[in-house]
């Protein structure tokens, strides 16, 4: 397999095919935890793990899955990996597991995971699918980390729990409440579309 192909597969989801900006997929389960940088990091790592490994598994199995029950098999495999994430988190980081609550389980219904399997893993070789899944997860992760960075900084004056802004800073409490997440994502999508994709000038 050519190294160039792997590189291309890896870079596309980080840039012009980013799942969040281009397709607005999969923000459901993770946007809710973007009020803290640390929570977002843990959640997006879980998403990356799930997308990468379930893409790989489905790609290995792709020739043996009857297409009628394809969706069911996909859901099962995704759910298996999510259960692994859930159990690992509960065992090694119980406080975080409590804070994330139901959102870890909701990675199953995250459209990116199934979207990548349907669109990529079922037609490509296992290694390439692993790379594609990992890159899609990363493309998704950095968008949410940027949102979490601004939400936590503006909302509480802290980053990763450490005080960054001094006592002169007045917390924008709207940022850590639900509307803040919607506004931040909208502004971010706007900036990226205008600046990178030049949609305004076509």
């Amino acid at each position: 397999m050519a190294a160039g192909m792997i590189k291309k597969t890896f870079l596309a989801p980080l840039g012009k095919d980013n799942p969040v900006f281009v397709q607005i997929l999969g923000i459901c389960s993770t946007l809710a935890v973007t009020n803290k940088l640390e929570n977002t990091m843990v959640m997006t790592l879980g998403v990356m793990f799930t997308t990468a490994l379930s893409s790989w598994t489905l790609s290995v199995m792709r020739k043996w899955i009857p297409s009628r029950i394809r969706m069911m098999v996909e859901t099962m495999i995704i759910a298996t990996y999510v259960i692994i994430v859930d159990i690992a988190l509960k065992a090694f980081y119980p406080e975080m597991w409590k804070q994330l609550g139901p959102y870890v389980g909701l990675i199953i219904t995250n459209c990116i995971v199934m979207g990548r399997i349907e669109a990529f893993a079922l037609q490509n070789k296992p290694m390439l699918s692993l790379v594609d899944g990992l890159a899609s997860g990363m493309g998704y992760a950095y968008v949410l980390l940027v949102i979490a960075f601004f939400r936590e900084l503006l909302g509480t004056g802290t980053l990763w729990g450490y005080q960054i802004l001094g006592s002169w800073w007045t917390n924008w409490s709207i940022m850590i409440m639900p509307p803040g997440g919607f506004f931040m994502l909208a502004i971010f999508i706007w900036i990226v579309r205008e600046a990178v994709f030049k949609e305004g000038t076509k």
Partner: protein, 197 residues
């Protein structure tokens, strides 16, 4: 709070103060993609309400009478998603057989529902918050109704926006998210009316 009032309090809280879409961001995918037409939004919203109320109740029974006695709680993700998928399939077959009108009105939305995060989310919340059976049913019903209200309001606003001039980069998902943000702010006005943990 007593046994009769608590489920009702949870119901109203799920519709207004703890709206599953506007405070928990669940069901965003179909919310953003379907909310262009008022009628289709209403159809999807009704289907979601129905499936959410029933599957939350079914999942409660399965979780407490099957998974807990055998200490298989960690399997709940798989079990819940299978029940939801199977239930949706069943509903599709039943209405296809008995009511053609309803099938054409709701049928196309049913496959979309299986992957709607809000449905699975309601079941997972019900487990974490340790609701009783009645409370779970009213919670699922209220969450679905809250979702219906949110998507219909959004569709109404988006129909008006068709003639508006929107910056190109903001058109589509961007403006929908900003509207959702304002709606979330409006729904925050209900805070303090009812509080549930």
């Amino acid at each position: 709070m007593n046994d009769i009032l608590f489920p009702l309090a949870v119901f109203f809280a799920a519709v207004f103060t703890n709206n599953i879409l506007l405070t928990n961001y669940l069901g965003m995918c179909s919310f953003l993609s379907v909310s262009k037409e008022l009628e289709t939004s209403a159809g999807l919203g009704i289907a979601v309400t129905f499936v959410m109320a029933t599957t939350t109740a079914i999942n409660w029974v399965v979780y407490h009478f099957l998974l807990v006695p055998f200490q298989l709680e960690y399997l709940r993700f798989i079990v819940f998603i299978i029940i939801i998928a199977a239930f949706v399939q069943l509903i599709e077959m039943v209405i296809e057989r008995y009511s053609e009108g309803l099938y054409f009105a709701l049928g196309i939305f049913l496959p979309l529902i299986t992957v709607n995060c809000a449905i699975l989310g309601a079941s997972l919340f019900m487990v974490i918050r340790e609701y009783s059976f009645m409370t779970s049913f009213f919670f699922g019903f209220g969450s679905g109704l809250g979702w219906l209200i949110a998507i219909m309001a959004m569709a109404g606003i988006r129909q008006r926006l068709r003639t508006a001039k929107i910056p190109a980069g903001l058109d589509g998902a961007g403006i929908a998210l900003i509207i959702a943000g304002f709606m979330a702010m409006a729904f925050m006005g209900f805070n303090g009316m009812i509080t549930i943990s």
